[in-house]
């Protein structure tokens, strides 16, 4: 309700080769109103520059988490504060 309100600013985090290709581990971004899902966010990121283009060239092989919970490409971003992108996990 204050003028400092900024509901569109979220933290993006990148891991493994997604992090290496983007060249950043994390950043704050302000999302345009028409980016409503995880998949739309990946498309929007692709258009941000060469490194993003390289990282998100095949969005179907990238996994995402909304506020540290696995989320599919069609998941609505809603009020998430942190969105992470990474390759399929390979621990264990």
């Amino acid at each position: 309700m204050t003028s400092g309100q900024n509901t569109n600013t979220i933290t993006l985090r990148y891991f493994a080769w997604v992090r290496e290709k983007v060249g950043l581990a994390e950043e704050e971004v302000s999302l345009p109103a028409d980016v409503a899902t995880v998949g739309e966010l990946m498309k929007w990121l692709q258009a941000r520059g060469e490194t993003y283009q390289a990282a998100f060239a095949k969005p179907e092989i990238i996994r995402a988490a909304l506020d540290q919970t696995h989320a599919r490409a069609d998941a609505p971003i809603g009020s998430a504060r942190e969105i992470a992108f990474f390759p399929p996990v390979t621990g264990g």
Binding site: R13, Q68, F86, V89, T90, G91, G92
Partner: protein, 158 residues
Amino acid sequence: MSVRVQSEDFDIGTEISALTDHRSDIGAVVTFTGTVRGSAGGAPITSMTLEHYPGMTEAELARVEAEANARWPLSASLIVHRIGELHPGDNIVLVVTASAHRHAAFEAAEFLMDYLKSHAPFWKKEARPDGTCSWVDARETDAAALQRWQKSPSKAAE
């Protein structure tokens, strides 16, 4: 019922003792230890670096552990996963399950590993003798291994 993510090595005997000492309700303890192999796809590796997603990792491990405890009558369970740079022969992951009966302990340990492999946000990068590195690809068999847990376990009540 606990999970840990750490750089340091773990000692399996110590971890089992911490779970089972002074208890007489346990009849079966299963441990799984994952270790770094010296080669991948036939080519030698010199080191393996494990990256993870702090916060989400612990949350995912706690979730799979809670799920295992809901499915099987476990007396105790533990997941320890290492991060950072490891070398061939080093420990990567430890899962311990304890139950009154052996099938529950076996099934729960295998379930924990199958879920951990597909859900916990860890990524492995392998370094080779020539100085090159590459991220390990996820194995399709790990996703397939999850299928068997879609229905409830057959032997848990035993």
